[in-house]
Symmetry: C2
Subunit: 247 residues, 2 copies
């Protein structure tokens, strides 16, 4: 039995999120079925580093899988991508790892990016891959305000009511807002995130960028520790799980 | 009657190219029908700066249109995008211009970009929006070789057999090859291009990047002035009409 680390890119549009579930198709299930096909029907569990919601994408989700067959990492990548050829899921890298490696528990930092298309005209190439915001957003105001969220805080305001995390206290390592042409990129990194945390932060920063909220309003919203104090929850469309760092 | 300049973005995947034709749907036709809807059935001609082939995209195609109705540029943009809301065509900018402005004849420089996805794993977000090349390509070799094509040359080798241009002699102002992560970007600018010129150049540069052609092979191919001497014609997928400069 050999454990492999998989770095995975996926377009979240057709999927009900990362995690396998009963009534809808998830990325994890598609991957597990592809591995089963490759391994003549053997049951395979693909363990991810983190869950993503329905419609959320990944540039570098990481997962691990245990395989009882003789594959080099390279061969496994080519073979699994063959079985994924009809779906928008692609295994970018495969590495053979020790049995101690665990995609979820060995992860020490997770990075996300949120893409906002900020222009009047609708998206053409990126429908469902960006959040289309027509109001002009002030990126400098957004970046400055974002800094009040960096560090260790009780993020109850920015947490989905069904979030399963034991504590609402998280340490946000960085939160930046940059403009790249028509797009705004919000980048965030932390050991772990609460459910909807980045979407809730993004929605609130949009209010700041549009001039409807000040930095102090954002701070007050955080300090309220109350979901009712949230400004706005951004849609899943623009969110990408970017990469994971391990011990 | 007021003439308007339109800057247009489109995803070329569903279309038979820019130019209206009898048996397939073209971008020009979709735009003309949208203007007709907006103007209660009036016939409208949308004149583009340049044709694009089936499956080729635009980030900044420019066209002009004459409108016999009272619209500000801003209002016209909002209104036409409403009628384009179900298709991957979007009018980025509208400017009121003099009747002397002509999208095709006033254009003095056209810019294109060709995107190659250069990695083993298949595309997930960009199927049909990039050319997927699995062989590792040497961007420095490609850029260096590209410079033999810059300047005034007889580009017969890099011209489609059905190209309608009077002369195969064109002046290529610049041709650059850069890497951006997994992608290679080939950028080209000229007053005008021959039919398939950039795709033919791209296909040949790919041979250079893969180590199958030297810079001298590329030069010999150019100097042969013979379509049979072409290395390879790249698919339309990765080609984008980027912008146009006017007198």
């Amino acid at each position: 039995m050999q454990r492999f680390k998989l770095t995975i890119e996926y377009d979240g549009r057709p999927y009900a999120g990362w995690q396998r579930q009963d009534n809808a198709l998830a990325v994890q299930q598609v991957l597990e079925e592809a591995f089963s096909q490759l391994l003549q029907g053997a049951a395979v569990v693909v363990q991810g580093s983190g869950r993503t919601d329905a419609g959320v994408h990944a540039l570098g989700q990481v997962a691990h899988v245990d395989i009882d067959a003789d594959f080099t990492a390279q061969k496994l990548r080519e073979a699994i991508n063959y079985f994924l050829r009809k779906v928008p899921i692609s295994v970018l890298e495969v590495d053979a790892v020790d049995a101690e490696f665990h995609a979820r528990f060995s992860a020490i930092k997770r990075h996300y990016i949120y893409r906002i298309l900020n222009r009047r005209a609708p998206p053409t190439f990126n429908e469902g891959l960006v959040w289309h915001v027509m109001t002009p957003l002030d990126v400098d105001l957004m970046h400055a305000a974002a800094q009040v969220l960096v560090g260790k805080h009780d993020f109850t305001t920015f947490r989905h009511v069904h979030c399963q995390a034991e504590s609402p206290v998280k340490t946000l390592d960085y939160l930046s807002v940059e403009r790249d042409g028509d797009e705004l990129h919000i980048k965030a990194g932390a050991r772990s995130f609460l459910h909807h945390q980045i979407r809730s932060i993004t929605g609130s920063l949009k209010l700041v960028g549009a001039g409807r909220w000040s930095k102090d309003d954002l701070k007050a919203s955080l300090e309220a520790r109350d979901r009712q104090a949230l400004g706005y929850n951004a849609p899943p469309d623009g969110l990408y799980f970017r990469s994971v760092e391990f011990t």
